[in-house]
C-alpha cells in the first residue's frame, strides 16, 4: 500500500516543480515578446505580414542585410545580380570567386570588413537603381 503522506508530499513537490517551470517559461516568453516588439514587428504587423512569405529574390531594400558569412555566389543569386558584377565592381582578383565568403575575401584582401560590406551594399543598390 502506498504511504498517503509520502504520496501527498510527492504530489506537492511535483506541482511546485510544474509551477516553477511555468513561471520560468513565462519570463522567457515575455523576454522574447519584448525582443520582437523592439524590432518593431508587432507594432507594424501589417508591414511585417506584407513582407513575410518573402519568396523570390531580395530587393535593394534588403541590401543592409548582407553579412560577412555570406558568399558572393549567394548574394548574386539572392539579389539577382549578374555573376561577374560584384567581381568587377569590387575589383576582386581571387580565383575562389564567387564561391568564397565576404569574410574570406576580407582576410585575403587585407581590407576592413565594414569597408567591404559597405562596398557590397552600395553595389547592390547601384545595380538596382541602374536597372530602374
Amino acid at each position: 500500500m502506498p504511504n498517503p503522506q509520502k504520496t501527498h508530499t510527492l504530489m506537492k513537490a511535483a506541482l511546485g516543480a510544474v509551477i516553477i517551470a511555468i513561471i520560468i517559461l513565462c519570463v522567457l516568453l515575455v523576454q522574447q515578446y519584448r525582443y520582437i516588439n523592439r524590432l518593431d514587428y508587432i507594432s507594424h504587423r501589417q508591414s511585417l505580414f506584407r513582407s513575410l512569405h518573402g519568396s523570390g529574390p531580395l530587393t535593394s531594400a534588403n541590401a543592409s542585410s548582407t553579412q560577412a558569412w555570406m558568399t558572393f555566389d549567394y548574394i548574386n543569386r539572392a539579389f539577382t545580380l549578374p555573376s561577374q558584377y560584384l567581381q568587377v565592381t569590387l575589383s576582386i582578383n581571387d580565383s575562389r570567386y564567387p564561391r568564397m565568403t565576404i569574410a574570406q575575401y576580407v582576410k585575403a584582401s587585407g581590407r576592413s570588413q565594414n569597408e567591404v560590406l559597405k562596398a557590397v551594399q552600395d553595389a547592390i543598390r547601384a545595380y538596382a537603381s541602374a536597372k530602374q
Binding site: 511585417l48 513582407s51 518573402g54 549567394y74
Partner: protein, 197 residues
C-alpha cells in the same frame, strides 16, 4: 550571432546540400550543434531561390534518419556489451526511461523528433530496448518529416526575417524539453503509483 553559427552558415552556402546533410547528420548522431537554426536558414535560402525546398527537405530527413539509425544500431549491438565491459550499471532513471520507451515506442519516437536535444537519447534507448527496426524506421521517418518540414517551412515563410526568429526557435526547444521531461516524470510517477495499488 555566434562564431560557430556564422561558420556553419558559410559552410552551408559554400557546400549547399552536402553541408546540410553533414550538419544535420552530426546533430542527429549526438554532436550539440544548432542544426534547427541551419534548417531555418535553409528554408529562408529556399525562399530566395538559392536552395530547392523539396531537395532540402529530402536531404534533412535522410540525414536525420541515417544519424538516428547509427544511434539505434550502436546501442542495440554494442550498448550493453560496452556497459558490461566498463562495469557500469545503467542508472535506475535511465532503466525506467528505457521501459517507458519500450512500452510506448511509437509516441516516444514520433514526438521526440520535435525536440532536438532529446532525439539522440531516445534513439539510443530504442536500440537498448530492442524496439523493432521497422517500427523505429517508420515513426522516425514520420517524426522527422513533420518536425523538419515545419522548421524548413517556417524559414521559407519568414524569408529574409529568419535571423530575427532564431531565439524563438531555441526557446521553443527549451519549452519542448521541459514539457517532455515533465510528461515523462508524470507518467513514470503515475505508473509507479498505479502499480502499487
Amino acid at each position: 550571432m555566434s562564431s560557430i553559427l556564422t561558420f556553419l552558415l558559410s559552410f552551408l552556402l559554400l557546400y549547399k546540400y552536402w553541408a546540410l546533410f553533414a550538419v544535420v547528420f552530426m546533430a542527429a548522431v549526438i554532436v550539440p550543434i544548432p542544426a534547427n537554426t541551419l534548417i531555418l536558414a535553409a528554408g529562408a535560402f529556399a525562399s530566395q531561390g538559392y536552395f530547392n525546398f523539396w531537395i532540402s527537405l529530402l536531404v534533412i530527413v535522410l540525414a536525420n534518419m541515417v544519424g538516428d539509425c547509427i544511434d539505434y544500431f550502436l546501442a542495440r549491438i554494442y550498448g550493453r556489451r560496452i556497459l558490461r565491459k566498463i562495469h557500469v550499471r545503467m542508472p535506475s532513471y535511465l532503466e525506467r526511461l528505457e521501459k517507458f520507451v519500450a512500452e510506448y515506442p511509437r509516441s516516444a519516437i514520433f514526438f521526440t523528433r520535435f525536440v532536438g536535444t532529446i532525439e539522440p537519447i531516445t534513439s539510443l534507448l530504442c536500440g537498448f530496448s530492442g524496439i523493432r527496426i521497422w517500427t523505429f524506421l517508420v515513426y522516425d521517418f514520420l517524426g522527422n518529416l513533420a518536425s523538419d518540414g515545419l522548421i524548413l517551412y517556417s524559414g521559407y515563410f519568414l524569408g529574409v526575417h529568419w535571423q530575427d526568429f532564431t531565439g524563438l526557435f531555441s526557446l521553443t526547444d527549451y519549452i519542448l524539453v521541459g514539457v517532455t521531461i515533465i510528461a515523462i516524470v508524470g507518467v513514470l510517477y503515475w505508473r509507479k503509483k498505479h502499480n502499487r495499488t
